[in-house]
Protein backbone atom coordinates (compact mmCIF):
# COMPACT_ATOMS: atom_id res chain seq x y z
CA UNK A 1 0.00 0.00 0.00
CA UNK A 2 1.61 3.28 -0.98
CA UNK A 3 2.19 5.43 2.06
CA UNK A 4 0.46 8.76 2.17
CA UNK A 5 1.61 11.21 4.76
CA UNK A 6 0.84 14.79 5.54
CA UNK A 7 4.08 15.75 3.87
CA UNK A 8 2.83 14.99 0.39
CA UNK A 9 -0.18 17.19 1.08
CA UNK A 10 2.08 19.98 2.34
CA UNK A 11 4.34 19.70 -0.66
CA UNK A 12 1.46 19.99 -3.08
CA UNK A 13 -0.05 22.84 -1.09
CA UNK A 14 3.20 24.72 -1.33
CA UNK A 15 3.18 24.45 -5.10
CA UNK A 16 -0.39 25.31 -6.02
CA UNK A 17 -1.61 28.84 -6.51
CA UNK A 18 -3.29 30.25 -3.48
CA UNK A 19 -6.01 32.81 -2.88
CA UNK A 20 -6.51 35.13 0.04
CA UNK A 21 -8.33 33.22 2.78
CA UNK A 22 -10.44 36.16 3.88
CA UNK A 23 -11.62 36.81 0.35
CA UNK A 24 -12.59 33.15 0.08
CA UNK A 25 -14.40 33.18 3.41
CA UNK A 26 -16.27 36.40 2.68
CA UNK A 27 -17.26 35.19 -0.80
CA UNK A 28 -18.63 31.94 0.57
CA UNK A 29 -20.47 33.87 3.28
CA UNK A 30 -22.03 36.09 0.65
CA UNK A 31 -23.16 33.03 -1.32
CA UNK A 32 -24.84 31.47 1.71
CA UNK A 33 -26.44 34.76 2.64
CA UNK A 34 -27.83 35.22 -0.86
CA UNK A 35 -29.17 31.68 -0.94
CA UNK A 36 -30.95 32.30 2.34
CA UNK A 37 -32.48 35.47 0.98
CA UNK A 38 -33.58 33.77 -2.24
CA UNK A 39 -34.79 30.43 -0.93
CA UNK A 40 -35.78 31.38 2.62
CA UNK A 41 -36.13 27.73 3.67
CA UNK A 42 -33.14 26.38 5.55
CA UNK A 43 -33.59 22.86 4.20
CA UNK A 44 -33.70 24.15 0.65
CA UNK A 45 -30.50 26.05 1.23
CA UNK A 46 -28.84 22.90 2.58
CA UNK A 47 -29.85 21.00 -0.53
CA UNK A 48 -28.71 23.76 -2.80
CA UNK A 49 -25.32 23.98 -1.10
CA UNK A 50 -24.95 20.23 -1.50
CA UNK A 51 -25.83 20.45 -5.17
CA UNK A 52 -23.35 23.27 -5.69
CA UNK A 53 -20.72 21.21 -3.96
CA UNK A 54 -21.54 18.25 -6.16
CA UNK A 55 -21.01 20.33 -9.29
CA UNK A 56 -17.71 21.60 -7.92
CA UNK A 57 -16.59 18.11 -6.94
CA UNK A 58 -17.19 16.60 -10.36
CA UNK A 59 -14.77 19.14 -11.81
CA UNK A 60 -12.38 19.29 -8.91
CA UNK A 61 -11.48 15.60 -9.09
CA UNK A 62 -9.61 16.08 -12.36
CA UNK A 63 -7.49 18.84 -10.93
CA UNK A 64 -6.86 16.80 -7.82
CA UNK A 65 -5.73 13.73 -9.73
CA UNK A 66 -3.56 15.81 -12.00
CA UNK A 67 -1.82 17.81 -9.33
CA UNK A 68 -1.62 15.27 -6.52
CA UNK A 69 0.24 12.70 -8.59
CA UNK A 70 -0.81 9.83 -6.37
CA UNK A 71 -1.16 6.21 -7.21
CA UNK A 72 -4.39 4.31 -7.37
CA UNK A 73 -6.09 3.67 -4.07
CA UNK A 74 -6.56 0.02 -3.25
CA UNK A 75 -9.58 0.31 -1.01
CA UNK A 76 -11.96 2.76 0.54
CA UNK A 77 -9.78 3.27 3.60
CA UNK A 78 -7.01 4.58 1.49
CA UNK A 79 -9.39 6.78 -0.41
CA UNK A 80 -10.59 8.38 2.78
CA UNK A 81 -7.02 8.93 3.98
CA UNK A 82 -6.15 10.49 0.66
CA UNK A 83 -9.05 12.90 0.83
CA UNK A 84 -8.29 13.87 4.38
CA UNK A 85 -4.55 14.28 4.12
CA UNK A 86 -4.00 15.42 0.58
CA UNK A 87 -7.32 16.71 -0.70
CA UNK A 88 -8.28 18.95 2.18
CA UNK A 89 -4.73 20.20 2.49
CA UNK A 90 -4.47 21.02 -1.16
CA UNK A 91 -7.70 22.91 -1.52
CA UNK A 92 -8.43 24.33 1.91
CA UNK A 93 -5.04 24.33 3.55
CA UNK A 94 -6.21 22.32 6.53
CA UNK A 95 -5.40 18.76 7.50
CA UNK A 96 -8.13 16.42 8.53
CA UNK A 97 -7.91 13.16 10.39
CA UNK A 98 -9.80 9.95 9.70
CA UNK A 99 -11.34 8.07 12.62
CA UNK A 100 -14.17 5.78 13.62
CA UNK A 101 -13.92 3.10 11.01
CA UNK A 102 -16.67 0.54 11.16
CA UNK A 103 -16.00 -3.19 10.95
CA UNK A 104 -16.61 -3.57 7.26
CA UNK A 105 -14.53 -0.57 6.37
CA UNK A 106 -17.27 1.23 4.53
CA UNK A 107 -18.02 4.01 6.94
CA UNK A 108 -15.67 6.48 8.56
CA UNK A 109 -15.50 9.90 10.10
CA UNK A 110 -13.26 12.73 9.02
CA UNK A 111 -12.58 15.35 11.64
CA UNK A 112 -11.55 18.90 10.81
CA UNK A 113 -10.11 20.96 13.62
CA UNK A 114 -10.33 24.20 11.74
CA UNK A 115 -12.35 25.26 8.78
CA UNK A 116 -11.53 28.39 6.78
CA UNK A 117 -15.09 28.62 5.45
CA UNK A 118 -16.45 29.59 8.83
CA UNK A 119 -14.08 32.31 10.01
CA UNK A 120 -16.08 35.14 11.60
CA UNK A 121 -19.37 33.27 11.15
CA UNK A 122 -22.05 33.02 13.78
CA UNK A 123 -25.37 31.49 12.91
CA UNK A 124 -28.32 33.67 13.86
CA UNK A 125 -31.24 32.13 15.72
CA UNK A 126 -33.40 32.10 12.60
CA UNK A 127 -31.05 29.75 10.75
CA UNK A 128 -30.39 27.08 13.30
CA UNK A 129 -30.98 24.14 10.97
CA UNK A 130 -28.45 25.34 8.47
CA UNK A 131 -25.44 23.26 7.59
CA UNK A 132 -23.21 26.15 6.68
CA UNK A 133 -20.44 24.04 5.12
CA UNK A 134 -22.72 21.66 3.30
CA UNK A 135 -20.86 22.45 0.13
CA UNK A 136 -18.00 20.29 1.41
CA UNK A 137 -20.31 17.26 1.56
CA UNK A 138 -21.29 17.81 -2.03
CA UNK A 139 -17.71 18.27 -3.18
CA UNK A 140 -16.61 14.96 -1.74
CA UNK A 141 -19.66 13.14 -3.01
CA UNK A 142 -19.24 14.55 -6.51
CA UNK A 143 -15.55 13.89 -6.67
CA UNK A 144 -15.89 10.28 -5.55
CA UNK A 145 -18.73 9.65 -7.92
CA UNK A 146 -16.51 10.62 -10.83
CA UNK A 147 -14.13 7.86 -9.84
CA UNK A 148 -17.06 5.49 -9.61
CA UNK A 149 -17.44 5.40 -5.87
CA UNK A 150 -20.92 6.13 -4.73
CA UNK A 151 -20.89 7.62 -1.27
CA UNK A 152 -23.07 9.52 1.10
CA UNK A 153 -21.53 12.28 3.12
CA UNK A 154 -23.20 13.89 6.08
CA UNK A 155 -22.28 16.17 8.95
CA UNK A 156 -22.03 14.65 12.39
CA UNK A 157 -20.60 17.56 14.33
CA UNK A 158 -20.56 21.23 13.48
CA UNK A 159 -18.89 24.00 15.45
CA UNK A 160 -21.51 26.53 14.39
CA UNK A 161 -24.09 24.36 16.09
CA UNK A 162 -22.18 24.17 19.32
CA UNK A 163 -19.87 21.17 18.91
CA UNK A 164 -16.14 21.37 19.29
CA UNK A 165 -15.02 20.41 15.79
CA UNK A 166 -16.27 19.50 12.35
CA UNK A 167 -16.94 15.87 11.62
CA UNK A 168 -18.05 14.43 8.32
CA UNK A 169 -19.19 10.88 7.90
CA UNK A 170 -18.66 8.98 4.67
CA UNK A 171 -20.67 5.92 3.75
CA UNK A 172 -19.74 3.75 0.90
CA UNK A 173 -22.93 2.76 -0.80
CA UNK A 174 -23.36 -1.01 -0.67
CA UNK A 175 -25.84 -1.14 -3.47
CA UNK A 176 -23.14 -0.37 -6.00
CA UNK A 177 -20.98 -3.35 -5.25
CA UNK A 178 -21.57 -4.78 -8.70
CA UNK A 179 -19.91 -1.70 -10.10
CA UNK A 180 -16.66 -2.67 -8.42
CA UNK A 181 -15.30 -4.53 -11.39
CA UNK A 182 -16.20 -1.69 -13.71
CA UNK A 183 -14.77 0.88 -11.35
CA UNK A 184 -11.46 -0.95 -11.19
CA UNK A 185 -11.34 -0.86 -14.94
CA UNK A 186 -12.06 2.86 -14.90
CA UNK A 187 -9.38 3.48 -12.31
CA UNK A 188 -6.84 1.60 -14.34
CA UNK A 189 -7.79 3.60 -17.35
CA UNK A 190 -7.44 6.99 -15.70
CA UNK A 191 -4.81 6.47 -13.04
CA UNK A 192 -1.45 8.17 -13.32
CA UNK A 193 1.54 5.88 -13.60
CA UNK A 194 3.48 5.32 -10.39
CA UNK A 195 6.43 7.62 -10.02
CA UNK A 196 9.55 5.47 -9.79
Amino acid sequence: MPTVGPRSGDAIFANVERVNAELFTLTYGAIVRQLLTDLEEVEEVNKQLDQMGYNIGTRLIDEFLAKANISRCVDFKETAEMIAKVGFKMFLGVTASVTNWDIEGTCCSVVLEENPLVDFVELPDTCQGLYYCNVLCGVIRGALEMVSMKTEVTWVRDVLRGDDSYELQYWRDHRCRWLLGFSRYMQLLFAKPNPT
Binding site: E22, T25, L26, G29, A30, V32, R33, D119, F120, V121, E122, L123, P124, C127
Partner: protein
Protein backbone atom coordinates in the same frame (compact mmCIF):
# COMPACT_ATOMS: atom_id res chain seq x y z
CA UNK B 1 1.18 59.51 55.59
CA UNK B 2 0.12 55.91 55.37
CA UNK B 3 -2.19 56.65 52.46
CA UNK B 4 0.44 58.49 50.51
CA UNK B 5 2.88 55.65 51.13
CA UNK B 6 0.36 53.20 49.71
CA UNK B 7 -0.03 55.42 46.68
CA UNK B 8 3.70 55.61 46.15
CA UNK B 9 4.06 51.85 46.28
CA UNK B 10 1.28 51.37 43.80
CA UNK B 11 2.77 53.85 41.42
CA UNK B 12 6.11 52.10 41.60
CA UNK B 13 4.51 48.76 40.88
CA UNK B 14 2.68 49.86 37.77
CA UNK B 15 5.11 49.60 34.89
CA UNK B 16 5.81 52.74 32.98
CA UNK B 17 3.44 54.82 34.99
CA UNK B 18 3.63 58.51 34.65
CA UNK B 19 2.91 59.00 38.30
CA UNK B 20 5.87 60.55 39.97
CA UNK B 21 6.02 60.57 43.72
CA UNK B 22 6.68 64.17 44.62
CA UNK B 23 8.64 64.82 47.79
CA UNK B 24 5.62 65.09 49.97
CA UNK B 25 4.34 61.78 48.63
CA UNK B 26 1.29 63.11 46.84
CA UNK B 27 0.59 61.79 43.41
CA UNK B 28 -0.90 63.92 40.68
CA UNK B 29 -4.49 63.29 39.89
CA UNK B 30 -5.37 65.61 37.11
CA UNK B 31 -8.84 65.67 35.67
CA UNK B 32 -8.24 67.05 32.26
CA UNK B 33 -4.66 66.19 31.45
CA UNK B 34 -2.52 63.39 32.70
CA UNK B 35 0.62 65.43 32.58
CA UNK B 36 1.65 68.07 35.02
CA UNK B 37 4.10 67.88 37.83
CA UNK B 38 2.07 68.88 40.84
CA UNK B 39 -1.54 68.83 41.82
CA UNK B 40 -3.31 70.77 44.46
CA UNK B 41 -2.67 69.36 47.85
CA UNK B 42 -6.27 69.02 48.86
CA UNK B 43 -7.31 67.55 45.53
CA UNK B 44 -4.55 65.00 45.52
CA UNK B 45 -5.06 64.12 49.14
CA UNK B 46 -8.71 63.42 48.61
CA UNK B 47 -7.93 61.61 45.40
CA UNK B 48 -5.35 59.51 47.18
CA UNK B 49 -7.88 58.69 49.81
CA UNK B 50 -10.36 57.69 47.19
CA UNK B 51 -7.74 55.65 45.45
CA UNK B 52 -6.78 53.77 48.56
CA UNK B 53 -10.30 53.06 49.72
CA UNK B 54 -12.02 52.43 46.39
CA UNK B 55 -9.80 51.53 43.43
CA UNK B 56 -12.16 52.70 40.73
CA UNK B 57 -10.23 51.91 37.61
CA UNK B 58 -13.24 50.73 35.74
CA UNK B 59 -14.75 51.07 32.39
CA UNK B 60 -18.34 51.93 32.90
CA UNK B 61 -19.65 51.72 29.41
CA UNK B 62 -18.61 51.33 25.82
CA UNK B 63 -20.67 52.13 22.78
CA UNK B 64 -20.43 51.68 19.06
CA UNK B 65 -22.26 54.29 17.04
CA UNK B 66 -22.79 54.12 13.30
CA UNK B 67 -22.02 56.82 10.83
CA UNK B 68 -25.53 58.17 10.99
CA UNK B 69 -25.27 58.38 14.75
CA UNK B 70 -27.39 55.28 15.17
CA UNK B 71 -26.38 53.08 18.10
CA UNK B 72 -24.98 49.70 17.08
CA UNK B 73 -23.85 48.36 20.39
CA UNK B 74 -24.01 49.67 23.94
CA UNK B 75 -22.70 47.70 26.85
CA UNK B 76 -22.40 48.87 30.41
CA UNK B 77 -20.24 47.13 32.94
CA UNK B 78 -21.51 48.38 36.26
CA UNK B 79 -24.82 47.63 37.80
CA UNK B 80 -24.84 50.75 39.89
CA UNK B 81 -25.26 53.32 37.20
CA UNK B 82 -28.39 54.12 35.42
CA UNK B 83 -28.39 52.87 31.84
CA UNK B 84 -30.26 55.99 30.80
CA UNK B 85 -27.61 58.26 32.23
CA UNK B 86 -24.94 56.37 30.31
CA UNK B 87 -26.93 56.62 27.10
CA UNK B 88 -27.23 60.34 27.71
CA UNK B 89 -23.50 60.72 28.23
CA UNK B 90 -22.76 58.78 25.07
CA UNK B 91 -25.25 60.87 23.18
CA UNK B 92 -23.70 64.12 24.35
CA UNK B 93 -20.27 62.92 23.45
CA UNK B 94 -21.40 62.39 19.86
CA UNK B 95 -21.74 66.14 19.52
CA UNK B 96 -18.18 66.58 20.67
CA UNK B 97 -17.05 63.99 18.14
CA UNK B 98 -18.81 65.80 15.32
CA UNK B 99 -17.22 69.04 16.42
CA UNK B 100 -13.77 67.53 16.49
CA UNK B 101 -14.25 65.97 13.10
CA UNK B 102 -15.46 69.13 11.46
CA UNK B 103 -12.98 71.51 13.07
CA UNK B 104 -9.70 69.72 13.32
CA UNK B 105 -7.35 71.42 15.71
CA UNK B 106 -4.30 70.92 13.61
CA UNK B 107 -4.48 70.21 9.96
CA UNK B 108 -1.76 68.52 8.04
CA UNK B 109 -0.52 65.09 7.09
CA UNK B 110 0.28 64.22 10.69
CA UNK B 111 -3.31 64.30 11.81
CA UNK B 112 -4.14 60.94 13.30
CA UNK B 113 -7.81 60.77 12.65
CA UNK B 114 -8.67 57.59 14.42
CA UNK B 115 -8.03 58.25 18.08
CA UNK B 116 -9.90 61.35 19.20
CA UNK B 117 -8.67 61.31 22.76
CA UNK B 118 -10.46 62.64 25.78
CA UNK B 119 -13.71 64.17 24.63
CA UNK B 120 -14.80 65.80 27.83
CA UNK B 121 -14.71 65.06 31.51
CA UNK B 122 -18.00 65.11 33.31
CA UNK B 123 -18.78 64.59 36.99
CA UNK B 124 -16.77 61.52 37.78
CA UNK B 125 -16.53 60.13 34.27
CA UNK B 126 -14.13 60.52 31.44
CA UNK B 127 -15.21 59.95 27.88
CA UNK B 128 -12.86 58.85 25.12
CA UNK B 129 -13.62 58.66 21.45
CA UNK B 130 -12.29 56.74 18.46
CA UNK B 131 -13.31 57.17 14.87
CA UNK B 132 -12.87 54.51 12.22
CA UNK B 133 -12.41 55.16 8.53
CA UNK B 134 -16.02 54.26 7.87
CA UNK B 135 -17.16 56.96 10.29
CA UNK B 136 -18.16 54.44 12.92
CA UNK B 137 -17.48 55.82 16.37
CA UNK B 138 -16.41 53.99 19.49
CA UNK B 139 -17.15 55.77 22.76
CA UNK B 140 -15.55 54.72 26.01
CA UNK B 141 -16.84 55.96 29.36
CA UNK B 142 -14.65 55.30 32.33
CA UNK B 143 -14.57 56.26 35.99
CA UNK B 144 -10.85 55.86 35.92
CA UNK B 145 -9.33 58.87 37.48
CA UNK B 146 -5.90 58.19 36.17
CA UNK B 147 -5.80 56.51 32.82
CA UNK B 148 -2.90 56.44 30.44
CA UNK B 149 -3.27 57.52 26.88
CA UNK B 150 -1.39 54.47 25.69
CA UNK B 151 -3.77 52.16 27.53
CA UNK B 152 -6.79 53.73 25.95
CA UNK B 153 -5.24 53.59 22.51
CA UNK B 154 -4.41 49.94 23.05
CA UNK B 155 -7.94 49.28 24.21
CA UNK B 156 -9.42 50.90 21.13
CA UNK B 157 -7.09 49.00 18.84
CA UNK B 158 -8.22 45.67 20.27
CA UNK B 159 -11.82 46.77 20.29
CA UNK B 160 -11.53 47.76 16.65
CA UNK B 161 -10.17 44.30 15.81
CA UNK B 162 -13.10 42.65 17.59
CA UNK B 163 -15.52 44.96 15.80
CA UNK B 164 -14.05 44.10 12.40
CA UNK B 165 -14.42 40.39 13.09
CA UNK B 166 -18.01 40.86 14.20
CA UNK B 167 -18.87 42.85 11.10
CA UNK B 168 -17.26 40.21 8.83
CA UNK B 169 -19.96 37.78 9.87
CA UNK B 170 -22.06 37.23 6.73
CA UNK B 171 -25.20 37.22 8.84
CA UNK B 172 -24.56 40.67 10.23
CA UNK B 173 -26.51 43.40 8.51
CA UNK B 174 -24.50 46.61 8.33
CA UNK B 175 -26.37 49.39 10.02
CA UNK B 176 -28.22 47.06 12.36
CA UNK B 177 -27.25 46.28 15.93
CA UNK B 178 -24.44 43.85 16.58
CA UNK B 179 -25.97 40.72 18.08
CA UNK B 180 -22.94 38.49 18.05
CA UNK B 181 -22.30 36.66 21.31
CA UNK B 182 -18.64 36.16 20.44
CA UNK B 183 -18.26 39.91 20.11
CA UNK B 184 -19.80 40.48 23.53
CA UNK B 185 -17.44 37.93 25.08
CA UNK B 186 -14.39 39.38 23.41
CA UNK B 187 -15.37 42.85 24.50
CA UNK B 188 -15.72 41.80 28.12
CA UNK B 189 -12.30 40.11 27.92
CA UNK B 190 -10.75 43.29 26.55
CA UNK B 191 -12.45 45.36 29.24
CA UNK B 192 -11.17 43.06 31.97
CA UNK B 193 -7.67 43.21 30.53
CA UNK B 194 -7.88 46.98 30.49
CA UNK B 195 -8.93 47.06 34.11
CA UNK B 196 -6.07 44.79 35.13
CA UNK B 197 -3.38 46.48 33.10
CA UNK B 198 -4.07 49.96 34.37
CA UNK B 199 -4.58 48.90 37.97
CA UNK B 200 -1.61 49.93 40.08
Amino acid sequence: MLLSRVREERSLQAAGTRQRATPNGCATISRVKNRGPAGLDSASASAVEEEATKPEKMIVCIAVVGHQNNPLYIQSFTEADDALKLHHIVHCSLDVVDERVNNPKKSGPLLNETFLGLLYPTENYKVYGYLTNTKVKFILVTTDLDVKDADVRNFFRRFHAAYVDAVSNPFHVPGKKITSRTFAERVSTIVKAFGLSSAG
